[in-house]
Each structure stands twice: as structure tokens, then as C-alpha cells.
């Protein structure tokens, strides 16, 4: 299983221009092209998860995640925010890179936890924040995932 296989070019936004964490989550959920009601439920669930503790893991990276029946397969999205967002991250620093992961309650292949783990593993690599900052296109982002072999 390679992380690259779960991302599609249309679910990558390298130019987030949002003001808040909420707005950012909404924009990223929007990349899944669900109906309005499903988007609203998903956003609420992600917010509730954030209220239990921030998913900002430090070094400018956040991994908001949840399970919900409004998606029928595992979906992932990535967003980059140049200026950085207040995500109440563990290290209290602004978040520039947001990996969003959502999955249905039950998956045949049970990929949710492994994908979450792989993104965490990727995020912990020393040069990743710097490399993510330098990525110039969605394809470049996918190449970086491939290169890292996660």
C-alpha cells in the first residue's frame, strides 16, 4: 500500500487562502465533491474531533481525521497554507500543511488506520516540511510521496 495511491490531483490545494481552521476544513472537505448536507455533517464531525484535541502534530503539520457514513470509501486531501494557520497545534506554531483523512465506519480493506499511520510517518521525516514548502504542483506533491516511499 502506497500513500500516493490514495491522493488525486483534484484533492490537493497548494494555495489555501483561508483565515481560520474552520474555513480550511470546509475548503478541504469541498475537495471531495459531496452534496451540501454530507459536507456539513463531515465538517461537524471533524470539528468535534478537533474539540477533543487538536490534530496539529507540530512542525507545521495537521492531520484532521474522522470516520463517517457520509463517505463510501476512504478519502484524503492535502492543503498548503503559505501564511500558516492557528490550529492550536501541539507545539503552538502555525500550521502550513493539512492532510485530511475521512473514511466510512467500516471498510472492507480497513485502510483508515494504516493511511493515518503512514501520513504520520511521512510527517515525521526531518526534511518533509521544507520539501512540502518547495512543491510547485499537485504532481510534485505526489512525486514527493513516491520518493519518500511511504
Amino acid at each position: 500500500m502506497q500513500l500516493r495511491d490514495f491522493f488525486s490531483v483534484d484533492a490537493i490545494d497548494l494555495d489555501l487562502n483561508t483565515e481560520t481552521k474552520d474555513e480550511t476544513l470546509k475548503i478541504l472537505v469541498g475537495l471531495f465533491h459531496l452534496d451540501e448536507k454530507s459536507e456539513s455533517i463531515l465538517f461537524k464531525m471533524l470539528k468535534r474531533r478537533e474539540n477533543l484535541g487538536s490534530t496539529g502534530i507540530g512542525r507545521g503539520i495537521a492531520i484532521p481525521h474522522c470516520r463517517s457514513l457520509v463517505v463510501n470509501r476512504l478519502r484524503v486531501a492535502f492543503g498548503r497554507h503559505g501564511a500558516g494557520l492557528d490550529f492550536k497545534a501541539i507545539d503552538e506554531k502555525p500550521v502550513h500543511y493539512v492532510f485530511l483523512i475521512v473514511a466510512p465506519p467500516l471498510e472492507v480493506s480497513n485502510q483508515y488506520l494504516p493511511v493515518l499511520g503512514k501520513i504520520a510517518q511521512f510527517s515525521k521525516e526531518a526534511d518533509v516540511p521544507e520539501r512540502l514548502a518547495a512543491v510547485e504542483s499537485a504532481e510534485g506533491f505526489l512525486q514527493l510521496l513516491e520518493e519518500k516511499g511511504v
Binding site: L52, T55, L69, V70, N72, A120
Partner: protein, 118 residues
């Protein structure tokens, strides 16, 4: 979407989160990587579930509790015309509606609430 179906979906998602926090893999990740306090999170989820429950009619509330308690899921998806609670085909007239989620559908075979994902 039917208002009570929306509440049921939210409640089920919260139950899923709660259950996941009691299991090894997710709990380990949430408390390790995200530094979450699992006990505090479970308390917060319980409080929210109780709050949402008040929005449901009594019979719906009872059905939800019974299903979530015995079968772990109260709301199941209908995919390609098949109920994923029992794998029996749903009446074609239900699936053919413009937005089947506007009604609170209960499977005639397994009794689960049904949700039609987009």
C-alpha cells in the same frame, strides 16, 4: 436530509469515535501522536451523544439504542440498491426517489435505519 436521520448519523459517528478510543490501534495513535486524553475524550463524546439523543422521538431513540448496543451500527448505507445491514435489495421505489435521505427509511428486513451515500 431528514432531520432525525442527520442526528442519527452524527450519533453513530460519535459512537464509532468512542468505540475506536477504547480499541488498541486508534487509542494508541490518538493518545500518542495527537496527545489526546482518551478518558476526557470519551466523557466529552458521551455528553454530546446524550445531548443529541434528546432530539430524537422516543421510538427512534429506542431503536437506535437497541441497534447500536447489539449490532454496533444503527444506520447502514444502501449501496447499489442493497441494504448493507442485511444485504437484501431495498424496494426499487425507495431508491428511485429524488433524494431517499429526505425520509427516515428503516429496512424491512433487518430493521436498520438506512442512509443513501452520495
Amino acid at each position: 436530509m431528514h432531520e432525525q436521520l442527520e442526528t442519527l448519523l452524527e450519533m453513530q459517528d460519535l459512537h464509532m469515535q468512542r468505540r475506536a478510543l477504547e480499541e488498541g490501534g486508534v487509542r494508541e495513535l490518538e493518545t500518542g501522536l495527537f496527545e489526546m486524553s482518551a478518558e476526557e475524550a470519551i466523557d466529552a463524546l458521551d455528553a454530546k451523544i446524550s445531548e443529541l439523543e434528546l432530539r430524537l422521538g422516543k421510538s427512534i431513540q429506542e431503536r437506535f439504542r437497541s441497534l447500536i448496543g447489539t449490532r454496533q451500527r444503527a444506520v447502514v448505507p444502501v449501496l447499489a440498491g442493497v441494504c448493507y445491514g442485511c444485504f437484501v435489495a431495498v424496494p426499487t421505489s425507495w431508491a428511485a426517489e429524488a433524494d431517499p435521505n429526505e425520509k427516515l427509511n428503516v429496512c424491512q428486513s433487518c430493521g436498520h435505519f438506512q442512509y443513501y451515500p452520495t
